[in-house]
């Protein structure tokens, strides 16, 4: 159907712009982490990898990132399911059908900035609590940003992801004729709650599983939000990798690359899982 030249050019583009940079980047990071290349090369060694696994903060960082992503997803998927199932007709026409797009216009750094201004100790919520005499000083307001539990990060992730999942679920409700199934289950005697939990939610979750996994990957590797709203201990994977690679201690660089490799392995494993979860359709 296409000329050989067009075929070759397309495959060349795919390899030059997607595959080659990936292989080159991972290859360099791997060689650096094994002491084979870079300014600190010492010859082939597993020393930096050993350090990585003996230092608890690296494992903690991976678990912390995964926990933040998992909790954010759990909250946003649950809230989105509820919004989509109770209000799906409102997202076809009218004000809500436009307003739901507004949070999608927020880059991560803008959302993080907003929630910093909204949730921090000197932020808008704290001022409101002070004016309502719920708190009596700036210290009376709890830590909701740069906090131990990552509340600021979770809220920001939810703000950015809920509209995406609402639109996704509303789309599936329409295309998969979920309302027809709900009517059928109601005809067979199921209550609205039972119909939602036994019919609609399982169907929507199964259909959107690849998107949920993909969103987990994005949240797991997020940088802008944790760098503004996170804290230095524990820190997320991206922040830790960049800190080790970009800051002043040169001895940290091989470890930084080892973290990047470990992160890539985790992400690629999740992608394999995602592709298995949907046999044919790759489209986002």
């Amino acid at each position: 159907m296409f000329s050989k030249t067009a075929n070759r050019l397309a495959i060349f583009l795919l390899f030059a712009l997607a595959v080659l940079p990936l292989l080159a980047g991972i290859g360099y990071a791997l060689l650096y982490s094994l002491g084979v290349t870079g300014a600190l090369k010492t010859g082939f060694t597993f020393e930096h990898w050993k350090k990585l696994f003996t230092e608890n903060n690296v494992l903690a960082s991976f678990l912390y990132s995964a926990a933040i992503a998992a909790v954010s997803l759990l909250v946003s998927v649950s809230v989105s399911l509820w919004i989509a199932l109770t209000n799906h007709q409102r997202f076809r026409k009218g004000a809500l059908s436009y307003l739901i797009y507004l949070p999608l216009a927020f880059p991560g750094i803008v959302a993080a900035f907003f929630f910093f201004q909204f949730l921090s100790k000197s932020g808008i919520l704290s001022r409101l609590f002070f004016q309502l005499h719920i708190t009596h000083s700036i210290d009376g307001f709890p830590d909701l940003t740069n906090d131990r539990y990552g509340i600021g990060m979770i809220v920001t992730h939810c703000f950015l992801s809920i509209p995406f999942f609402v639109l996704l679920f509303v789309n599936f409700i329409n295309t998969e004729r979920i309302t027809a199934y709900l009517q059928l289950s109601a005809t067979l005697g199921a209550g609205s709650r039972k119909s939602a939990f036994r019919v609609a939610i399982p169907m929507l979750l199964r259909k959107s599983l690849p998107n949920i996994i993909l969103y987990f990957i994005f949240m797991f590797g997020a940088y802008e939000i944790p760098v503004l709203l996170g804290r230095s201990n524990p820190e997320t994977v991206s922040v830790m990798a960049v800190r080790k690679l970009q800051k002043f201690n040169l001895l940290d660089i091989p470890q930084g690359y080892a973290i990047a490799i470990l992160y890539t392995v985790v992400v690629f494993s999740l992608i394999v899982l995602m592709l298995k979860s949907r046999k044919i359709a790759y489209d986002l």
């Binding site: 159907m1 067009a6 307003l99 507004l102 900035f113 994977v237 489209d283």
Partner: protein, 257 residues
């Protein structure tokens, strides 16, 4: 007037969507906003009018972001459209799509630190061309994934029908395929524009602080504790996406109707 729980939930959703925009614009229009005042002591358009002064760094950042995003969106859409067509009908379709997925899903900032060595070697650190290339490495695979579903049997049959009637591949492409795919091309252009427009981590590493896009400016203003200019930059960052997403919705809905 009575409020039912459904009304309240809809109002809460609307408020959750509007409040951040209103507050960001409010902060960008204010000065002197010390704790515990709920509202700023002074509202002023001075921050916004400063945008029109010569050499303003935010205006420069806005144009830099715009140039980079337009270049990335144009290149990624065109190359992704072309490449996805070949991939979609290729016998190794599945494997090639998996390859396209991989660079797109890695955290851009981690990807950037791994690639920085090569960018330094190619003299592409700290300049716009380097950032365009780096962002293209993310936007191009996205474009392929976006378009690959478009190339179905129906499109193939249209093209074959043109060939049967004596039209060349080029004629089929320009007179049938491109008009059919115009809405998809526009949506992909918008999405790639947004990928570039939203980008911070990769730009900060490959740009090396020398290329000051709007996202970089937001971070700089935050570290300088210049809340009002940071909010102003944030407002400028969300205006184009709001317009594009609105157009996006109009285009998608028109296609469905």
């Amino acid at each position: 007037m009575t409020f039912k729980p459904a009304h309240i939930s809809r109002m809460a959703i609307a408020l959750g969507c509007i409040l951040p925009v209103v507050l960001l614009f409010g902060i960008s229009l204010s000065q002197n906003w010390a704790f515990p005042k709920l509202l700023p002591q002074q509202f002023t358009a001075a921050n916004w009018s400063a945008l029109f002064t010569k050499g303003n760094s935010i205006t420069t950042g806005l144009f830099t972001s715009l140039i980079i995003a337009l270049l990335v969106a144009s290149l990624a859409t065109a190359s992704g459209f072309f490449t996805s067509q070949v991939i979609a009908y290729h016998r190794f379709r599945r494997q090639l799509i998996v390859l396209a997925y991989l660079p797109f899903v890695i955290s851009p900032v981690i990807f950037a630190v791994c690639l920085k060595f090569y960018f330094i070697r190619m003299n592409l650190v700290g300049n716009i061309m380097g950032i365009v290339l780096a962002q293209l490495i993310i936007a191009f695979p996205y474009s392929i994934i976006f378009f690959v579903g478009f190339w179905n049997q129906r499109i193939k049959q249209y093209q074959m029908a043109v060939n049967t009637l004596g039209g060349s591949n080029g004629y089929a492409f320009s007179k049938v395929i491109v008009p059919l795919s115009r809405p998809m091309l526009l949506v992909c252009f918008f999405q790639c524009f947004l990928i570039s427009w939203f980008e911070y981590g990769l730009t900060s590493i490959i740009g090396y602080g020398k290329v000051q896009t709007l996202t970089i400016k937001v971070f700089d203003f935050l570290t300088e504790a210049n809340l009002y200019y940071a909010a102003l930059s944030c407002c400028l960052l969300i205006i184009p996406p709001v317009i594009l997403l609105w157009l996006n919705k109009r285009i998608i809905f028109r296609r469905i109707e």
